[in-house]
Amino acid sequence: MAETHSLQDLQQPAVSSKVFIQRDYSSGTICKFQTKFPSELESRMDKQQFEETMQTLNNLYAEAEKLGGKSYLEGCLACLTAYTVFLCMETHYEKVLKKIARYIKDQNEKIYAPRGLLLTDPIERGLRVVEITIFEDRSIGSGR
C-alpha cells in the first residue's frame, strides 16, 4: 500500500468534529449540563445511553455542590483553623471530582471509545462544556 500517511494518521484516527454540550442554567448557578441529545451523535450512539451518562454526571456535580451537614461541618472546621486545614485535607468537591474523572474514564472505555467517540472531562474545559470528540469512522461499510 503505497500511501502517504502522516505520522498522526497512523497513530490515531483523525478527528472529524467536536460536539459541545453547554451548561444548563435553568436551576441557577449550580453545575448542570444540558441533557438534550445532539443531532451529530444520532448515527453513532443511543439516545438513552447518552442521556443516562449526562444525568449521572449532573447528579455527581450536584453531589459535589450539595449543601448539607457534611459540607457545613467542613466549612466551619476550615474557618476555625483559618483555612489551613485544606493544606492536608482534600475538599469535598475535589473528592467528587475524582469520582467524576473515574466515571468518565469508565464510560469512555465501555461505551464511547468502541463507537469512535471520546468524552472530555468538563473540568478540563473550566466546567463550561462537555466536549465530545467524534473520530472519523474507519469501519468498512456504512458509518455505524
Partner: protein, 457 residues
C-alpha cells in the same frame, strides 16, 4: 541518525523523510522543556511560587494594606501590650495576637487565591459558538448585534452576555474584570486593597478578613484608649495606632456591615450597585439565587463547599492533540504554547487562546486549594520574589523584580513559527473587524471601575 532508528522508521512510514531534523517538525523530540499553564495564562495576573500564588497586576495598594496592618499591630504589641498585660490581664495580647494572625491569614488567602477565574474558550469551542450564533442571527455581517442568551432561573429571566475577550457566554453572576482581564464567577468586585478580584472562590475569605479586621481595629482602638486613659500624662507611643484605628473603624466596620447584608440576601456587590434585583426595577423583580432565608443564605456563602480552581495553573502545557479536519468557516491558529497577553490582542487576536487542550488529563499535583502554608509566606520562605514591605507605586509599569510572568516581549517565538504537528493547513478567521474587547466590554468596564472606586473609599 543511528541506523536502528532509521530502519524502524522505514518499516512504518516508508514515505516520510527521516531527514527532518528541526525540532519544530518532529513532534516526538521535545527539545523545549514543558511549561506550566500559568506561564501562558492569558489574563493580566501575576503568579508566584510556580503558580501557587495568583494576584492582580497592580499590587501596590495590597502592600500598603499589609504595611498598615503590620505597623499598627506592631506598635500596639510593642507599646501597649506590656502595660496592659501587667495592669489588666495577659489575655489581652494573646487575644490580640490570635486576631492578628487570623486577619493576616484571611488577607493572604484572599489575595493569593484564584477568585474563580473562568478559563477562556478553546479554539474549537469558540468556533462552535460562533457557528451557532451565526445560524441564530442569520447574518455574518461585520457588526453583529450584542450577543445575549436568555435563561429562566427560578422563574426570573436572566440575560447571559457573550464575552468577546474570553469567547464564552458568561454564566449567570459572572462578570469580566477589566483590570485582570478575566471572567470571574460570581464576581463581587475588584479590590485593590487585597490586590485581587473577589469572586466565588475567595469571597468567604474576603468576608472573614474584613470581619476579623473590624474586630481587630475595634480591639486595638479600645485598648489603646484604655492605655491612654490609665496613663494620662505619659505619652504612649501609640498615637499613630489611635489615628489609624479611628479612621479604619468606621470604614471597615461599615464595609463589614454592608457585606453582611449582601451575604444574608445572597447578592454580589455588582448586583447591588446595579440594582439587578431591586424591586424598583419592576414589581416582579426578585433575586432568583436567594433561598429566602437569611440563615440559609449565610450558610451557603460561608460554609458551602469550596469550588476548585478551573484554571489548573500548575499543570503542564501539553502539545497538540489530534487536530480537527478543516471546517468550512476557517479555524483559529492552534498550538499557541506561546500565548500572547491580552493587550496584544489588538494585533493578534487569535493567538491569545491557550493551546487547544487534548483529551489527556494532565497530571498536575495542583488541586483546588492553592495556598502554601501561611507560615512559609513570611520573608525567607520559598517565595523570595515577594518583597514584602516594599510597596510599588500603583501607576508604574509592573516592576520587573516582581513577576515571573512572561510578558509578550520575552516570549521568544513570533506568531509565524508555531509547531503545529498537523499537516493540515490552518486559516485565520478574519475577526479583527469586530473584535474589540474594550468596547464590547465597556459596560462591564464602567461598572467594574465604579466598584473599584467604591471599595477604595
Amino acid at each position: 541518525f543511528p541506523p536502528g532508528k532509521a530502519s524502524m522508521r522505514e518499516c512504518e512510514y516508508s514515505q516520510i523523510s527521516t531527514r527532518s531534523s528541526t525540532p519544530m517538525e518532529t513532534p516526538y523530540k521535545k527539545r523545549t522543556p514543558k511549561r506550566k499553564k500559568w506561564e501562558a495564562f492569558p489574563g493580566r495576573n501575576k503568579f508566584y511560587c510556580d503558580g501557587r500564588i495568583m494576584m492582580a497586576k497592580q499590587t501596590g495598594v495590597f502592600y500598603l494594606t499589609l504595611v498598615l496592618i503590620l505597623v499598627t499591630c506592631g506598635l500596639f504589641f510593642t507599646f501597649d501590650c506590656p502595660f496592659l498585660a501587667q495592669e489588666l490581664t495577659p489575655i489581652i495580647p494573646v487575644l490580640g495576637g490570635a486576631l492578628f494572625l487570623f486577619v493576616l491569614g484571611t488577607l493572604l488567602r484572599t489575595s493569593f487565591s484564584d477568585p474563580g477565574v473562568l478559563p477562556r474558550a478553546t479554539p474549537d469551542e469558540a468556533a462552535d459558538l460562533e457557528r451557532q450564533i451565526d445560524v441564530a442571527n442569520g447574518t455574518t455581517g461585520y457588526r453583529p448585534p450584542p450577543r445575549t442568551k436568555e435563561v429562566v432561573i427560578n422563574g426570573q429571566t436572566v440575560k447571559l452576555k457573550y464575552c468577546f475577550t474570553c469567547k464564552i457566554f458568561r454564566p449567570p453572576r459572572a462578570s469580566h474584570c477589566s483590570l485582570c482581564d478575566n471572567c470571574v464567577e460570581r464576581f463581587d468586585h475588584h479590590c485593590p486593597w487585597v490586590g485581587n478580584c473577589v469572586g466565588r472562590r475567595n469571597y468567604r475569605f474576603f468576608y472573614m478578613f474584613i470581619l476579623s479586621l473590624s474586630f481587630l481595629t475595634i480591639f486595638i482602638f479600645a485598648f489603646v484608649i484604655t492605655h491612654i486613659i490609665l496613663k494620662y500624662f505619659k505619652p504612649a507611643g501609640c498615637k499613630w495606632a489611635v489615628v489609624v484605628c479611628f479612621f479604619s473603624v468606621w470604614s471597615i466596620v461599615g464595609l463589614s456591615g454592608f457585606h453582611t447584608y449582601l451575604i444574608s440576601s445572597n447578592q454580589t456587590t455588582n448586583e447591588d450597585i446595579k440594582g439587578s434585583w431591586s424591586s424598583k426595577r419592576g414589581k416582579d423583580n426578585y433575586n432568583p439565587y436567594s433561598s429566602g432565608n437569611i440563615f440559609t443564605n449565610c450558610c451557603m456563602a460561608l460554609c458551602g463547599p469550596l469550588p476548585p480552581s478551573l484554571i489548573d495553573r500548575r499543570g503542564f502545557i501539553e502539545a497538540d492533540a489530534p487536530q480537527m479536519a478543516p471546517p468550512t468557516n476557517g479555524i483559529t491558529m492552534y498550538g499557541a504554547t506561546h500565548s500572547q497577553q491580552s493587550h496584544m490582542a489588538a494585533a493578534t487576536p487569535l493567538l491569545q487562546q491557550q493551546s487547544s487542550e487534548p483529551v489527556i488529563i494532565t497530571s498536575s499535583p495542583e488541586n483546588g486549594t492553592s495556598l502554601p502554608a501561611r507560615a512559609s509566606l513570611t520573608l525567607g520562605g520559598p517565595c523570595t520574589s515577594l518583597p514584602l514591605g516594599q510597596p510599588t507605586p500603583p501607576t508604574s509599569t509592573p516592576s520587573l523584580t516582581l513577576h515571573h510572568y512572561l510578558t509578550p516581549e520575552e516570549v521568544p517565538s513570533p506568531p509565524g513559527m508555531l509547531h503545529c504537528g498537523s499537516p493540515l493547513g490552518h486559516s485565520h478567521t478574519v475577526q479583527a473587524s469586530f473584535y474589540n474587547p474594550a468596547s464590547q466590554d465597556s459596560l462591564h468596564e464602567d461598572s467594574v471601575r465604579g466598584l473599584v472606586k467604591l471599595s477604595s473609599v
